[in-house]
């Protein structure tokens, strides 16, 4: 991890300077504070301080009914909130034993893969900006904007999506959503290819990223890394492949792995994941052609809110509406752990239920929180400018870090 002699604090030969990197430094892309001891431009030691935007989601979740926890999950990894939403819905569905129809699963896969692409666009684009290339970021940003337009067609909002409900979606995908999706599948590969040719063999970019912050597979596993970072270090752990959820077992895709876990490997892994996500979305669209077009939620009236006009005109719907809103539907007293492959790694939900309307305890296993703790130890002996790039490629999202 280090290829430079590291001086200790009490070495009289060296005068160390202290640098407060963050909490609001433009290069850190969020509220991260690291107090670094510098010897010239080399980092001798660092201490990370986190918690600047801690909002006590786990505490709030103990006071909210299940369906009101979805907006909280939005605000964790806000670059790919649909994955968080879906992960939460699937956790509750697992708890309640709800089987979702295949069409719902495929629609969810489409939304989740779009979210993964938009998250990787940010990460890799910003990595380019930090190494001095702004163009790639702008090219890619146009398509992230387009992904947000697709979200808008599906759920009405863009960043904090609150997409889907327990049991399925709140409404069906409309024709515009599908046409935009096809346009995205046509346009985005062109840009992604252009983006790759801008960077992959770019001398400046490769010099800045290759062998920077290389992490061995043992270290990565020891620090419980997951997601693209772990895969860049050479471990092919992907929750989608290992514990398939939402019918991921029906899809054919590859899990890209790197070799030495440096910044360049992480960049390549994320790029390849975007190609794989496009592949998955294409397969999902093909599979959807064989499914009935009017199903967008599971048939679980005791958990899925009925349409409003039925509430006014239909006795049964009114009863269910009342029971759901008042939280009077019995739920099993048990505990469940469910994880999905978030854009940054294994996003887990540990839900302890006591049969009430809200969770007894809900814990989020947040990949950014767990991935970030290696940042200070791995920065030792690194150049300050490399540490900045390393932070971009870790893709730590402050909302997910602090929950």
């Amino acid at each position: 991890m280090q290829n430079h002699p590291v001086y200790t604090d009490n070495d009289p030969q060296n005068e160390l300077s202290t640098l407060n990197l963050g909490p609001t430094h433009p290069a850190t892309h969020g509220v991260f504070q690291n107090v670094l001891q510098l010897d010239g431009e080399r980092i001798v030691s660092g201490v990370s301080t986190i918690g600047y935007i801690h909002r006590a989601f786990e505490k709030i979740a103990e006071h909210r009914p299940f369906y009101q926890i979805t907006p909280l999950t939005d605000r964790m990894n806000y670059c790919s909130s649909p994955i968080n939403n879906m992960g939460w819905h699937m956790t509750v569905e697992k708890l309640l034993g709800i089987e979702t129809p295949k069409r719902v699963d495929y629609l969810r896969v489409i939304v989740m893969e779009l979210a993964r692409i938009s998250d990787h666009i940010i990460c890799n684009g910003v990595l380019g900006v930090d190494t001095g290339a702004f163009t790639g970021f702008l090219y890619m940003m146009e398509h992230r904007e387009f992904i947000y337009e697709i979200y808008e067609e599906v759920c009405g909002s863009r960043l904090t999506t609150n997409i889907g409900r327990i049991g399925g979606f709140e409404r069906n995908f409309n024709a515009i959503a599908f046409s935009k999706l096809r346009k995205f599948l046509k346009d985005f590969p062109v840009t992604l290819k252009e983006f790759e040719s801008l960077f992959n063999r770019n001398r400046i970019f490769v010099d800045r990223t290759k062998d920077v912050a290389a992490v061995t597979a043992e270290d990565a596993l020891n620090y419980s890394w997951s997601g693209p970072l772990l895969r860049a270090a050479g471990v092919d752990y992907d929750v989608r492949a290992m514990n398939p959820y939402s019918s991921y077992e029906d899809f054919e895709f590859e899990v890209p792995v790197g070799t030495n876990g440096d910044v360049y490997n992480r960049f390549l892994v994320r790029n390849e994941e975007m190609w794989q996500s496009l592949r998955i979305i294409e397969q999902a669209l093909t599979k959807l052609e064989k499914e009935p077009t009017d199903i967008f939620h599971a048939d679980v009236p005791e958990f899925y809110l009925p349409p409003k006009e039925e509430v006014y005109n239909n006795m049964e719907a009114l009863i269910y509406h009342f029971k759901i809103v008042m939280g009077e539907v019995p739920t099993p007293t048990t505990e469940v752990y469910h994880s999905v492959e978030g854009a940054n790694g294994e996003l887990g939900f540990y839900l302890v239920n006591d049969g009430g309307r809200s969770p007894y305890r809900l814990h989020f296993r947040r990949p950014s929180f767990i991935n970030y703790q290696m940042y200070a130890p791995m920065s030792r002996g690194m150049l300050l400018s490399d540490a900045i790039i390393n932070m971009s490629s870790l893709n730590v999202i402050a909302g997910e870090l602090d929950a």
Partner: protein, 167 residues
């Protein structure tokens, strides 16, 4: 499902630790064991280093507070064997007022922040932890906010009275 079943897993652990743990159940196929704080590190070490099991991946450490139980604080470990693709959940219950448990940081570096988070929110003291400080809350906080008795909103606030909201 994984390459080894929960029964095989349980047999392996029983052979080594006969009566030092109890089986809580298998909710949703996830084998859940309860043990004591004296045994937890031995069991974790065994699970991590056993060549057939290889629970090398520490998924999560957290806690749950049950005020009505005699042993109020439950520390929960989630482990994952990537080779066998099987998960296991371990629980240790601690009496309030004596919330000390040995640290798992000697086994996994990743346990560091997970244990700090658990300390921050539940006040569980991890013995031998290299740097047990608060992590998400401010350093001078005195309460452990994820315990059940801690209110969601500050009852002393004067700007959020019910009559402001017509309640």
């Amino acid at each position: 499902m994984g390459k080894i079943t929960n029964e095989e897993l349980l047999t392996k652990i029983s052979d080594k630790f006969q009566d030092q743990f109890t089986v809580v159940g298998e909710p949703f196929g996830l084998l859940t064991l309860e043990t004591s704080r004296e045994q937890i590190i031995d069991i974790l070490t065994f699970l991590k280093n056993d060549p057939a099991l290889q629970f090398i991946y520490l998924t999560d450490i957290t806690a749950v507070h049950y005020p009505e139980l005699e042993k109020q604080i439950g520390v929960i470990y989630h482990l994952h064997s990537l080779v066998n693709n099987v998960r296991i959940r371990l629980k240790v219950f601690l009496v309030d007022g004596d919330v000390q448990i040995p640290t798992a940081t000697n086994l996994w570096n990743g346990a560091n922040w997970m244990e700090r988070e658990t300390y921050d929110f539940f006040g569980v003291i991890f013995d031998g932890h290299p740097d047990l400080r608060r992590i998400l809350n401010v350093d001078d906080m005195t309460a452990f906010p994820m315990r059940r008795e801690f209110p969601l909103e500050d009852p002393n606030r004067v700007d959020k009275k019910d009559y402001f909201f017509g309640r």
